[in-house]
Symmetry: C2
Subunit: 291 residues, 2 copies
């Protein structure tokens, strides 16, 4: 029962990988669509979002195994967003996590369609989740739609790609929507799947938002630190033209403080529920990560 | 109560337009996203799909006004599919219904993202529909996901765009998935919103599939007839290279027969429920349409 942080994380991660690996396996006439979907779904990553769903489900008192389809549904939406973000008309990236991006392997047409299909399939997973009642399914699906839609993740993507945020306030809004909404959504999904009390909903949302913000600022910092270490470039010189980041606005020390502040706020939001300290350790591990 | 076909259709259509026009109206920081979504949602069309949802909801015994959000949700998904279909990496169309396509007005980046957001917002509409219980919301959302996802509309799009169907069987499968699944989904949504009996579900699905097939074959025919009338070209000469259509395979007379067969099958499937003959008239009007 009492697992150490790393053991529990690995337990969750393995269940998630196994479940994701069971999706889109059969071979219909449109096997290329399934292959393209699987390619990106199984491209690895830390699976932080679904891990959060499972831990919140457990803390909210349900058998976390029953929340696996819901957790993986949000991961499918996260995956579709990565596929579309990498498209030539978006960020135009050839590589993701060291592997060719979806459209580089399967072509743009299939990359667009694989992303579209993954979004629909995410709802299908939630709405057929065996361990959940109709009320929980409906609530989870609504949380996912809110986190990922026109006032959530997609809005953040629009601001980031097309509005060139310049102030700390604008940059915070981008990351609140683009990263925060989905990480908060992952936390809330676990609570909703377990049908827990409203107070825990709010704590889960706050933890997720703060964690998302810490994650994003740390990401920006690592970008700068990585560059400075590897190539000896002056800090900030490698920034994309016109794209302002937190280190540009706050400096590295200011970023360090901001990350610690967000992490503390995240931890204290869930302190009454975080029995084994898993959520606190997860927050700390993101704060201290070097890649 | 006893409205003529045209009056009832117009009544539904106006409610649908009014509801759609109320969406994405406020102006958040990402007003460009909302504008792009509204542009395509309000670009007109016959609104056949949501009209079907409302009529099936009425026939299944509910106040059809309560089904408007569900009906419009499917129309949002239909709209997102048109936006993405028109993209340069898909069909690369500059015009739709005589107006510039979404990416021609708003750019490709916003067109991809508006489509993505419309899909999420469709689920939000269903899952917050005021007149529905959680069970009905969950069932409707699942029907939408099944109709539009990796074994429905998107699969049809993949086959149509990337697999170049050549036989009647292959072409039938494309249209069953690409058009039939969504029209059948629209019919089933009305029945599910009203929580009606299983027998009516099956009849609604059959009506929708047959209607979708008739609609599509008629579309292919009009393409040929239109060309022959307007430009005096020999039939079939204007087909896109490598794209086989029903007139190529069956000839115009064979198509005529096939459309009538599908229409009859559609009408007889719902005959026990189609009290005022609205569904029969709708099927006939599609069969006989000249544009």
């Amino acid at each position: 029962m009492e697992l150490a942080f790393a053991e529990r994380y690995e337990l969750y991660r393995q269940e998630i990988e196994q479940y994701l690996n069971s999706l889109f396996e059969e071979e219909p006439h449109w096997a290329d669509l399934y292959a393209s979907m699987r390619y990106s779904v199984l491209a690895g990553g830390k699976r932080i979002r679904p891990v959060l769903t499972l831990e919140f489900a457990r803390l909210a008192g349900m058998d976390w195994h029953d929340a696996v389809p819901v957790a993986c549904a949000l991961e499918l939406v996260h995956t579709y967003s990565l596929i579309h973000d990498d498209l030539p008309c978006m960020d135009d990236d050839d590589l993701r996590r060291g592997k060719p991006t979806n459209h580089k392997v399967y072509g743009e047409t299939l990359a667009v369609l694989a992303g579209d299909a993954l979004q629909a399939e995410a709802y299908r997973l939630i709405l057929t989740a065996p361990g959940l009642k109709a009320e929980q399914r409906a609530e989870c699906a609504l949380i996912l739609a809110g986190a990922s839609g026109a006032d959530g993740m997609v809005a953040g993507q629009v601001l980031d790609t097309l509005h060139a945020p310049k102030t700390e306030q604008e940059l915070t809004e981008v990351h609140r929507l683009k990263t925060g909404a989905m990480i908060a959504g992952a936390c809330r999904l676990g609570v909703a799947a377990a049908d827990a009390k409203e107070a825990f909903h709010q704590a889960a949302a706050e933890y997720g938002y703060q964690l998302g913000m810490a994650f994003q600022i740390r990401d920006d910092m690592l970008d700068v630190i990585g560059n400075a270490d590897e190539f000896g470039k002056p800090i900030g010189s490698d920034r994309e033209e016109g794209k302002v980041t937190f280190p540009d606005l706050l400096g590295l020390e200011g970023c360090e403080r901001a990350v610690l502040d967000c992490t503390e706020r995240a931890k204290s939001a869930v302190a009454p529920w975080d029995e084994d300290g898993f959520l606190a350790e997860l927050a700390d591990s993101l704060t201290n990560r070097m890649k």
